[in-house]
Symmetry: C2
Subunit: 206 residues, 2 copies
């Protein structure tokens, strides 16, 4: 398999962390999103939506959307529940992550790290951060009585939500008001095979 | 089962259409989102993220996120592929729908139908519609060589993308430039058991 990715991407990190915990080997290519390299004609043949991560499978199929890639890799493993309801609840939190969390937790981080202090996109921050706090509050409440998001077991739902939550302060989201979230972050980081977001894969092709 | 929903919601329609095509009976309650009824303490016990659709299962569990509800209902049926890659591709298009399509196709429709012409939220429309056209262009290209989104068979990926695409003109998105999308919309609407978005479920409890 060959993962087309961007090292600082939390969406890419989801896939890298899962691959590490599954003990799977893969080729890895860093695609510089700031230079527009996900919007070239060549890359759009892999993913017509022009985004990383995109995983090229051994048969040449390109799979995109981080959470769908995780599902492909983890289905049938210990990272996806064995029950119909458990699988749906994992997907419930993964869709929550993409719709109600990522645009308001990940995007502020991207804006803060990629645009100068006087850039017009900084104007988006207050409204995004307000919704980011709302997402964190939903997580805080859910974790008040739970160790992990579904069935008290670490799953790809935890990976999906961890990816940008653990670096939320980079975008201006203070995690101090969310002690349950902070304890859960520690539990995720203590899982066997954990790697850091910026740990460059050893199989890197570029 | 009991579906908490809002009749004009495309996200709710996904679940209603699938339930009709699966031939499943359910109780149905319309929750008026404009009156804030998804943000009451009572409703937040069902879905801490305060959104419809939310499906209460017979054991009392509440499941939320339209695409996760569809997965729960359709897993193992003809509406979800039998292969690992096919299932991941269905999820790929469902995550595409929630991240790159719904905020730019559904939200403009909501703004146009729920806010007066001089409302400040109308200012969001140009930027949202630009991204809506980008999402439709991705669909148009994919459908150039395909009858349905995955494996040439109607699946919950088609339902997820159909729900707001077929009413995209309500939000100001002209479908004329997308002939492949328009042909696919006709194929979806011709599926056995098809119902209209505004068809009130006969099992309605309220």
């Amino acid at each position: 398999m060959h993962l087309f990715d961007y090292l600082d991407s939390g969406n890419g990190f989801k896939v890298r962390l899962l691959l590490a915990q599954l003990g799977m080997k893969y080729q890895w290519t860093n695609v510089d999103i700031d230079q527009g390299l996900t919007r070239t004609p060549e890359f759009l043949k892999r993913n017509p939506n022009g985004r990383i991560p995109t995983l090229e499978l051994d048969d040449g199929t390109n799979l995109f959307e981080s959470n769908a890639i995780m599902w492909y890799l983890a289905e049938g493993s210990r990272f996806v529940p064995a029950t119909q309801l458990g699988r749906a609840q994992v997907l419930q939190w993964m869709f929550f992550e993409q719709y109600s969390h990522e645009p308001y937790v990940a995007t502020p981080r991207y804006i803060c790290r990629h645009f100068p202090a006087d850039h017009p996109r900084r104007a988006e921050l207050p409204a995004r951060l307000e919704k980011g706090h709302a997402a964190l509050q939903v997580m805080e409440g859910h974790l008040a009585t739970r160790q992990f998001f579904v069935n008290e077991r670490y799953s790809i739902a935890d990976i999906a939500l961890y990816a940008y939550t653990h670096v939320a302060p980079d975008g201006g989201l203070d995690l101090a008001p969310y002690p349950n979230v902070r304890e859960w972050l520690k539990r995720v980081a203590a899982q066997p095979g954990y790697i850091d977001l910026l740990a460059r894969p050893v199989s890197a092709a570029a």
